[in-house]
Symmetry: C2
Amino acid sequence: MIEAALRSGRAHRECVFEVFGRRLPGDRRYGVLAGTGRVLEAIGRFRFGAAELDWLSQQRVVDDATLAFLADYRFTGSIEGYREGELYFPGSPLMTVRGSFAEAVVLETVILSILNADSAVATAAARMVSAADCRSIAEMGSRRTGEASAVSSARAAYIAGFSATSNLEAGRRWGIPTMGTAAHAFTLLHDSEEEAFRAQVDSLGPGTTLLVDTYDVRRGVETAVRVAGPELGAVRLDSGDLPTLVREVRAQLDELGATQTRITVTNDLDEHSIAALRGAPVDSFGVGTAVVTGAGAPAAGFVYKLVARREQGSSGDWTPVAKASSGKVGRGGTKRGARLIGADGIARAEHVIIDDDHDGMPEAGFTGIEPRALTVPLMIDGEPDPAALGAAGVRAAREHRASAIAELPPEAFRLGRGEPVLPTVYR
Amino acid sequence: MIEAALRSGRAHRECVFEVFGRRLPGDRRYGVLAGTGRVLEAIGRFRFGAAELDWLSQQRVVDDATLAFLADYRFTGSIEGYREGELYFPGSPLMTVRGSFAEAVVLETVILSILNADSAVATAAARMVSAADCRSIAEMGSRRTGEASAVSSARAAYIAGFSATSNLEAGRRWGIPTMGTAAHAFTLLHDSEEEAFRAQVDSLGPGTTLLVDTYDVRRGVETAVRVAGPELGAVRLDSGDLPTLVREVRAQLDELGATQTRITVTNDLDEHSIAALRGAPVDSFGVGTAVVTGAGAPAAGFVYKLVARREQGSSGDWTPVAKASSGKVGRGGTKRGARLIGADGIARAEHVIIDDDHDGMPEAGFTGIEPRALTVPLMIDGEPDPAALGAAGVRAAREHRASAIAELPPEAFRLGRGEPVLPTVYR
């Protein structure tokens, strides 16, 4: 596309691209945007090095003019959009990228890869957090997604309200609290369960979490309390019929005097099995596969569409553009979002305001119910908002998600499939 | 686990870990193993650098003895397992890792991350390849999975029989054939569809593929043939009711004399929509979301379990070990796989041979039907099999997959949910 546009003289035409989703993944009630900070960082690093240019040249993928363009590539445009951690609905204008066609179109894959993957995880994770009903929930799914996605999934789950991750690299890179567990392999390494528990308590103290279901849970709990004493931090259960088993283990721990010992459960949990443990004496959850794979919706389904182009002649007018044939019809024009919040603090609607003035920000202009502006500057002339980056950006996104969730009506937290909890209104 | 095992004196106990899946993802008939070459490369690079060690130390994640172990870490053990591209069934011993507990347990996450993600993609992709019925099929899903998984998904899909990818980095890194398409944005950038088509044909020649569904398909096809002539390479359709639309477009192309112009379709295709186009005049398919997300099963569900440990005393005996409590009961002991092939060349069963001699390779010892040995050496004393690495490894895996698929009975290619097409027999 860039090669052909360079030849046709359209490559440097000013353009506006928009990221949005046509529907919510998995017929859910709301989505959680994640990945924005990673996108801004990735755009800053987006360069074509000698190895890439040599390969493109050797393979004749593009011509020399395009190679020269790529060799000098650096995004100098501007981006506005929803804050990371913001909630979204069908049609929400999540990211608006302004730049020349060539400099903006080349970012499509990296922007969508990050936002689709991270938002799928965050959207699934937020449902698990509400199902967990204020009990802590740790992300432990690194082994069930690609080795780089493992790190970014831990980040997305934390933004969505998870309390910790077992992925140490996510801790190092993003400042996310980390935790660890012992696997069955640790118990099986030793000549007996007692030897394994003793090794763990000797090393990590009685406040550690002992995995008690390698052989027989009842004997495992008894051995755990005998070895660690009633100060034992927690026991972990990773198999069996959890609602029943958890009650039995709680009763046994209490009988043994380990009344402060917590129970943590794992075992292919998802939002539904977590909700089914609502009445059970579980203190914390560890979730793996379901959270890192988006619990049935592993990609958020966002697209990156050209919505406006500027005349190259003297007029400089903007033309809204959109695909017009059957299916997947788009809405042209630059947009911004506003969430209408009632006097009770509860959101009523998602407004998407289509603007004719593509250079500036459209004005909301509401009366009555208070609009909360959702579109903020993220990158100006190639310079990202520093507050959106790194560990500070992750913390800000997590806090913003919490405040945005607090605006949702109670129906938002129903786990069944259904309609978005807020209607999208185009203005 | 390593810290506690270093203190208990068990960290250097010789161990055997095994990678296997308890069931096939999505109730499919067979699985396709992918990621083996990437695992071997990742293990070769698996080191703890100064940045990681400093963080682990500052955060007091582990003690000084463990930090020293990690600083010197280099895997020196051995691995055997199924070739990349091999098919698998429940219980197939896909990878057997031999080493000290500490050096083998630390690899769990990286091994499982890669194999679970890549095999999920390959297993889904193989079904699409058979549904495409010898027509070519390109992987175009980079934007619907994490930015690093995008590259490895292209690799896994190619091993499973896809013909090309739109991911240029996969071409550069793994030698996979690449292709590109023009997006609707390219058409919308220009003042008219005709201007866009002319720009593309000027740059890429009439053999290019023109996207004809931005405005009106019938007019788009007419314009495409007018601009490129009857030598037009292909038209792409990305929306609409494809089985009907494809027939109409074929008839229109033939009327216009463009009888050699091919039709390529995209639009959220999966194995079922590809199969539904079996009778339609489609020449090639482009698949995005479904293939990179494993078409409903984004993680293969493999686990990494300790199956044997060696006595540290003078006897040096091996003890098979496995989790024994309710649910997820394992089978201890080192294993190897063999596929029983009938005189007609068709596979009959997957044999998993459990061996008592954990140092060597168990012998199959079959009579009658010919067994094909599935377990081969992959890494010896930390040195990987060079034939399994890089672009050559990818080519070998793709060829091996083709020969292994040719052994399957026809029921293997039914798309509905069902039982594995071969029974797993433990010996």
